[in-house]
Subunit: 468 residues, 2 copies
């Protein structure tokens, strides 16, 4: 049976090589949102994307200011008011990357090798957001029109937990109005097992700093009589965990919605074996709360990780100091219904309770993100499942994601629309790690699935789905 | 009564301003022995010092090779074979220093302010070793001769625990032969309370690295199921200490020579109050093993300090990773009769016993140094006491130093001569810390005391003192 989307799909296949070249140009821009030194690069990435959208004939394209890095907006509303409108959310910012972290090639000089493109942002999220840009281009160029209206909301602060997106949505509510939101910023278990993510973890990210002497001291003159701040930090951090690997912060688990037997059964469908986890990470043994399976631990249970530690001398050779201070970055992945601000208060209270009188301890909140849980019986979710069957060629499963896209909960709540997470990545794409890469086959199949999804959405009753 | 040293002391007083200018030139050379990037600077400092000694008419001046940084040798033997020979030991290398550590002015651009010279190495040890160079210059220029023979042995690896000095001494035993060794690389309690150090702590300096995943992981995808290496490090380090602040390493204290009541009484003469320690360091409260006084803790008891910690992300903003590895530098100050290599084995065994099967742990030995204890009834020690009375204008006390000059024990043992530690520094000179400085008054009084000491040594029977 011929489908409206056939010519768009043919166009996409015929143009994949050019699409990859365009993506490469986008990946060359080091749009690190967390580092003030890269503010101009972040803006440059926004301008590049806006210019690219204009070139494709999208309307209303603009680099719109926020209190932080700008949002890129663009739309195509040619399907008319009787057709649904889909809002595509994505982000053009990336996390830091440097050769000394273990990259084989410079992180902002994309290299194509063995069917993959290597660069920071390749999968998270420049490559995945680009799929939707190319899906619309394919319809517009091959058919002159798309089956639904599309709006793009591409932000530049996702990697710093989107501090300005909520106010932006509130300030531009009418502009952004849509029937469904689609986000591709997550992953599937394997290339032949597509997945629709219906849950994401939230986050509370803090920084702890322990201050001892007013400056570094000679360890020979003061060692033994002054509490070493690095040791005090070690003692405090050690006090945040129980011997069974659960988190020793009073109240931490209080608001966690317990997993039902049915949910545990669904999670078991994508169970992760010890062998798989050891193979993909290289760890000698797995770890964690033995009351839960590995998949539950990484997707449906809250965590507390040390993301960074620093104190004193870490250069070559010895330096015999008692450091003046020691610090750590700590982040907690949260699940429904934990509140990130409440968790911050609990963490802070616990750390302050553990702090000895021999040092001064500071706890700072860096970012927060709400956890999200989306019901999978909504029509827009079911349309996505059909899009995978036709566009990807496999039936998707509904999964919980362990990562955090704080804005998912915000969009669902603020805009009162379902948020459909069609992740076109793989867990071992190396996102937030050295040698991040993206499969060109995933990119191409993603574009075809995104094309089909627009068609499936057009077939839905034009009704406002009720969010939960 | 006119003394032989009067004219030399007058010369020194008249020339202090020039001496300080010369010291400034020496301090400008960033002779960081622990950093391979500064190898050429270390050599430049050696060449500078050798050229300076030649300019003063010292004989046999040479920059002598070792397996590491070179030794500067120079001598004046004009007093003849019937007079004693004193070997001056010092070091021209320094520990790292950078503006971002909290320096008010660049560490290698000496600044004179309020009677102090600020620069890395000002007190440790360029300023203090220069005292002996200027003492000999003062005799030679004012009298044409010194009352004893002098040899200078100035090394460039003290800050990395002198790995090549012992073989150097063994290879040049006849050249270095002397009756007494004098070292100025320690401090006195206050400017009006000079001290002769008769004990130094030794050292075992190690590096511990914990390896988990093969590369940094996204904390959202793996958090909860992989042992965070930074947490594993925290747990291991925490296991090295007991709740009473003693060191939880089996066998660690076994070889410590217990303090006698007499020794404790002598140490009590320079007792350190909590208020003093809080004032000089800025810590909110003191810490340590409550069975010992503060002075005992910093001078006569062994320690274990964390000198550095590193893992994951420590730059601005959040980065949601599980770091691939985490590391720490740890050093233990040792007292007689602890053996640094045995302590290394004990530390390593304890760390390996604490290491969980979820990570891989590496322990590396960086440097060692023997502790030293010198009897204070030796003639050369008593001559030093008289030199302070006349040259400094105060009666010295015999004290234990908390720092480490590993070579002290080596020189005493290899050369079978007493080692007299006439420290002309102050604990709050900021050595090994930002804004290291040296009092110009201490510098000048030090030169006069060093001049008088040469005279006092000439009055001793020319006998070979027996070392203990």
């Amino acid at each position: 049976m011929t489908q409206l989307s056939d010519r768009a799909r043919q166009y996409a296949r015929a143009n994949t090589a050019r699409f990859v070249e365009e993506l490469s140009a986008f990946l060359r821009i080091p749009s690190l949102s967390g580092d003030p030194a890269h503010a101009a690069d972040v803006r440059r990435a926004a301008e590049w994307l806006a210019a690219h959208m204009r070139g494709l004939g999208f309307a209303g394209v603009a680099v719109m200011e926020t209190a932080g890095h700008p949002v890129v907006y663009g739309e195509w509303l040619g399907a008319g008011p009787d057709r649904p409108t889909v809002l595509v959310y994505g982000h053009y910012d990336v996390v830091p990357a440097a050769m000394e972290d273990g990259w084989d090639t410079p992180p902002f000089e994309p290299v194509i090798k063995d069917g993959r493109i290597y660069a920071r942002g390749a999968t998270d999220d420049k490559g995945q957001l680009f799929i939707h840009v190319k899906a619309l281009e394919s319809f517009l160029t091959s058919e002159g029109a798309a089956p639904v209206n599309i709006k793009f909301l591409i932000e530049g602060e996702e990697e710093v937990s989107s501090p300005n997106l909520k106010p932006f949505i509130e300030a531009h509510f009418d502009l952004l109005k849509a029937d469904v939101c689609v986000i591709s910023d997550s992953s599937m278990p394997s290339i032949d097992a597509p997945a629709i993510t219906h849950s994401l973890r939230g986050m509370t990210y803090i920084e702890v700093e322990v201050h001892g002497p007013k400056e570094d001291l000679h360890s020979g003159f003061f060692g033994g009589a002054v509490h070493n701040p690095a040791l005090a930090l070690v003692e405090i951090l050690g006090g945040l965990y129980n011997p069974d690997h659960t988190i020793a912060v009073p109240g931490f688990y209080d608001d966690v919605v317990p997993l039902t037997a049915e949910e545990r059964a669904m999670i078991a469908r994508t169970e992760l074996s010890e062998a798989q986890l050891k193979q993909s990470t290289g760890v000698p043994a797995v770890w964690g709360d033995a009351s839960y399976t590995l998949r539950e631990r990484v997707a449906a249970r809250p965590t507390l990780d040390i993301n960074g530690l620093w104190s004193g001398w870490s250069g070559p050779g010895p330096k015999t100091i008692i450091p003046a201070k020691a610090g750590a970055k700590l982040s907690s992945r949260l699940v429904a219904n934990q509140n990130p601000h409440k968790i911050y208060e609990l963490l802070k209270a616990r750390i302050e309770a553990l702090a000895p009188p021999t040092v001064r301890v500071e706890v700072r909140l860096l970012t927060t993100g709400e956890p999200a849980l989306i019901p999978f019986d909504l029509p827009a979710m079911q349309a996505a499942a059909r899009a995978y069957e036709r566009g990807w060629g496999a039936t998707p499963t509904f999964v919980r994601g362990g990562g955090s896209i704080p804005i998912v909960a915000d969009i669902a709540r603020l805009m009162q629309i379902p948020v459909v997470m069609m992740g076109y990545g793989l867990d071992d794409d190396g996102l937030h790690a050295p040698n991040e890469s993206y499969s060109l086959e995933m990119f191409q199949r993603g574009i075809e699935t995104a094309i089909v999804y627009l068609e499936e959405l057009a077939r839905l009753e034009h009704e406002r789905s009720e969010p939960r």
